[in-house]
């Protein structure tokens, strides 16, 4: 049973039927553009035999929605999707039993379609609305309830239009940024130049002038914000306020080379086996075994990446009496409530947090921090709704990044080209800094503004995440059949930038390293890289996606100056399988031109095939952008990636044709797929660069400068 179901065991917590027969689904997972609401509606519509259009999905909010933790980790379809499926199957059985009584017929004679239950014997019928409209079910979900067999599906697996698409294409969708309330003020924060700077002196004359012009200044320790009626006037006033502060810059950011720091700084090191870190000493790297013919070493590296939401984070908050309401694009309203209530000394029941759409990013961006910012301003101005938006610079410089990482690999081949020894150590900062349920005082440390108020809390000290395939060790454990792999996670201290969850966590970097290294080993063994993977892989589904991608990649003509590369992973060794093939060219100016990508995915039973394909395409694009372009830069005085010129991302001009092959597994369990493609995408690009040019790139991003430097040796 999933934790979602264990926490919310009743049908009524997930599903209700209106008197008009419409079905309302309560899911605790938020739609962040990944189309989870479309998939969940399809699942409910299928189990209940109603048209997709008759399903409503309520916004996620505390006190109303099921508590499903955070929308993350490609868990939504497996947790919420499965919970809704079982809730709907239980409800269906209940409705049939009730209809049999009402119609005085044998339940076996009943047929369901379109929200109507009809008896084949008497031809009498009753609607869901008449049977159950407005009433609670009052029954627990039966985890063993019979669900519809895949061969009877009429909606799951069929093309569907994503919910909300019309509103998005016509400009009618309401993001948090677009919300308005009577008497609402716009607000901005004025952040220090960097994390460690603190407010030394605030020019009171300048503040008085701003206040005389009608602005409200919120000053609490080193937390500084400004609010006023007109959004643009507030932006300009925030600039004036910023100029009125004298910051104590303290020691600044550490400027040692991050790749040196990753392996030189103090760290917590743990061996990993079967995807789980063990509280045991790290075994020494043994000498190559007696049957080793060749031993290779390689170190791969990635810089800090930002989420880079296209819309800077925003939140709307209003404080009324002891109650505080917040509209937020946080991916976890319950954990945000717990952390914020703790930080503000509030009773959780007085804090009401409602999800509203924000700009996508796939991870922990500024959403939770800006909710805390808005809460602080709203509490300072009781009764006044506050819409607080970060600036582009706030988002770029203050969001928690995906950590830089280093991966050190060593492997030995026997004389037949089989891997006989494998070692992989990964080094990085934490990915686990979302606000979360935990010990009192821990949650508030994860909300940025609470570190700057007069009662400031300390920055959190990360501890190694110990669960299966999380954080730095996500996909550290290879799916390949290597004897006694030596796997080590290293949580590195004293790194310069603030980090948290970014799509795939460590999976992107680990798969990049493993899949590049496999190509290096295959080359050393003189074996085709696809054949090399297959000979070390028993899992038939893994083999199938690799073969599908390899076959698709081989089709079509590859001009002589182009290269092809392939890579594979199964996300967390338990979710969707994905193999990615890439065809690219390194141009004369050393830019990489992506020509074609093929993505083969096995996600078990596919619910929303078009949505799944879109996640695969988008996952490839985000990973290609990381691989080719992205690196957060900084110096002693702060982050220097403060806009889209100083932090470039992939643009339309380099979007390849992407062919997605979905391997159908009718009736199999759903496998989360939102993050499956990113890891293999990065490695496939690196492998294709090697094929095209002979250059083996081991440090991202693959910019023209890096390519030229590598070519010159």
């Amino acid at each position: 049973m999933t934790s979602s179901l264990a926490k919310q065991p009743d049908v009524d917590q997930w599903l209700s039927i209106g008197t008009d027969g419409r079905i309302t689904i309560n899911s605790g997972k938020v739609d962040i553009g990944q189309r989870i609401s479309t998939a969940i509606a399809l699942i409910a519509a299928e189990e209940l035999d109603v048209p997709l259009e008759s399903i409503d999905i309520t916004p996620v909010e505390t006190g109303v929605s099921p508590d499903e933790g955070v929308t993350s980790g490609s868990n939504s379809i497996q947790d919420s999707g499965q919970a809704v499926r079982l809730a709907a199957a239980t409800a269906r059985r209940h409705l049939i039993a009730k209809a049999a009584k009402t119609l005085e017929v044998n339940p076996a004679t009943l047929e369901l379609s379109d929200g109507l239950i009809r008896s084949r014997e008497t031809n009498r019928s009753v609607t869901y609305g008449d049977l159950q409209g407005g009433q609670s079910f009052g029954i627990p979900i039966d985890a063993e309830a019979a669900v519809k067999a895949a061969e009877n599906y009429t909606q799951i697996g069929q093309p569907a239009t994503a919910r909300g698409m019309t509103a998005l294409a016509t400009g009618k969708a309401t993001f948090v940024h677009d919300m308005t309330m009577p008497g609402m003020l716009h607000a901005r924060v004025v952040r220090p130049p960097h994390y460690h700077a603190r407010l030394k002196l605030l020019d009171t004359t300048a503040c008085q002038r701003l206040e005389a012009a009608g602005f409200h200044i919120i000053h609490d320790g080193s937390f500084l914000a400004i609010a006023g009626e007109d959004e643009y006037a507030v932006i300009k006033a925030a600039e004036r306020l910023s100029a009125a502060v004298n910051w104590d810059m303290k020691t600044g950011l550490p400027t040692q080379d991050i790749y040196e720091s990753l392996t030189k700084n103090e760290r917590a090191s743990l061996p990993v086996s079967d995807g789980i870190p063990r509280s045991e000493p790290v075994p020494e790297l043994a000498a190559p075994p007696a049957n080793a013919d060749v031993t290779l070493n390689a170190r791969y590296e990635k810089p800090y990446h930002m989420h880079g939401s296209l819309g800077p984070s925003a939140a709307l908050s209003v404080s009324e009496g002891k109650k505080l309401r917040i509209w937020t694009h946080s991916q976890g309203v319950y954990v945000l409530r717990e952390s914020l209530a703790d930080g503000l000394g509030m009773d959780q029941d007085d804090l009401h947090i409602i999800h509203a759409p924000g700009a996508g990013c796939y991870g922990h961006n500024g959403a939770d921090d800006v909710a805390a910012d808005a809460a602080l301003v709203a509490r300072a101005l009781p009764g006044t709704p506050i819409l607080l938006k970060w600036s582009r610079e706030d988002e770029h410089a203050w969001e928690p990044y995906g950590t830089c990482m280093a991966m050190e690999l060593q492997a030995s081949l026997d004389k037949d080209g089989n891997v006989v020894a494998w070692s992989h150590e990964s080094f990085g900062d934490t990915f686990m800094m979302r606000p979360r349920a935990g010990a009192p005082g821990e949650g508030p440390k994860r909300l940025l503004p609470l570190r700057y108020t007069a009662e400031s809390v300390a920055a959190p000290v990360p501890q190694p995440a110990m669960r299966y395939h999380v954080g730095i060790h996500r996909n550290l454990d290879p799916l390949y059949n290597f004897p006694n792999p030596r796997l080590v996670k290293n949580l590195v201290r004293g790194l310069p930038l603030r980090t948290s969850a970014l799509r795939t966590l460590g999976g992107f970097a680990n798969v990049f390293a493993i899949e590049c290294f496999l190509d290096e080993l295959a080359e050393a063994a003189g074996v085709d890289p696809v054949e090399f993977r297959l000979r070390h892989l028993e899992d038939a589904r893994a083999r199938a996606v690799i073969e599908a991608a390899a076959n698709a990649l081989r089709k079509g003509r590859s001009p002589p100056n182009q290269g092809r590369g392939l890579a594979f992973s199964q996300y967390t060794n338990s979710k969707a399988y994905a193999a990615v093939g890439v065809e690219l060219e390194v141009l004369d100016d050393a830019n990489i031109k992506l020509h074609r990508a093929v993505v083969a995915v096995d996600a078990g039973q596919v619910v929303d095939p078009d949505g799944l394909a879109m996640q695969c395409e988008g996952g490839f694009i985000q990973a290609a952008s990381w691989t080719l372009h992205e690196a957060v830069t900084f110096d002693r005085d702060g982050v220097t990636s403060r806009d889209w010129d100083s932090y470039p991302i992939l643009r339309f001009g380099n979007i390849p044709e992407i062919e997605t092959i979905l391997i159908e597994r009718p009736g199999d369990p759903f496998l989360g797929a939102g993050e499956a493609v990113a890891g293999p995408a990065g490695a496939a690009i690196a492998n294709a660069v090697r094929d095209a040019t002979g250059l083996r790139l081991r440090r991202m991003p693959f910019t023209p400068d890096v390519i030229r430097a590598t070519a010159l040796g």
Binding site: Y232, S309, D610, D643
Partner: protein
């Protein structure tokens, strides 16, 4: 503050605005047209694009006073008889949005592109969309929407 009249989506609209305020803020906060988005305020991302006399223009920096005599059209104003335009429908059909924050700008840019050129090649399309960033990776779907519109256009012309 100054009172001015803007032609927005085919209708004259009286606004009270600081003449130097960027057009985007007036559209969003005074006229309630929140389709165009503030993404950067630096003319770097394309989320704020609107049509000015049929041409795509970024509205997050340039002052509202520049546009007093212009025909301003936002993504909302592209709708036809209360329904999606053919460009908007193609975006819907192809699922050409994930979070959708960049979508309005892309719909506006695509509309302008196909008005100028019914059969743009990929280089022309890329040039028209180069200033539009998308973080979720909806690019492939946007390109597919444009392909379908080009194919439809070719059919209509026959």
């Amino acid at each position: 503050m100054a009172r001015m009249t803007l032609q927005v989506n085919g209708k004259p609209q009286e606004v009270d605005a600081e003449p130097s305020a960027p057009l985007l803020f007036i559209l969003r906060n005074q006229l309630g047209l929140t389709g165009a988005k503030l993404g950067c305020g630096l003319e770097q991302c394309g989320a704020c694009a609107v049509l000015i006399d049929g041409d795509p223009v970024l509205s997050c920096v340039r002052a509202v006073s520049e546009f007093e005599d212009s025909d301003i059209r936002t993504v909302e104003g592209l709708m036809v008889d209360g329904g999606p335009s053919n460009v908007q429908q193609a975006f819907i059909d192809q699922g050409a949005a994930q979070c959708g924050y960049c979508t309005a700008g892309l719909v506006v840019a695509t509309t302008a592109l196909l008005k100028r050129n019914k059969q743009p090649d990929r280089t022309t399309i890329d040039a028209a969309l180069e200033g539009h960033l998308c973080r979720c990776g909806s690019h492939t779907r946007v390109l597919r929407a444009i392909e379908t519109l080009i194919a439809e256009g070719a059919t209509h012309d026959q």
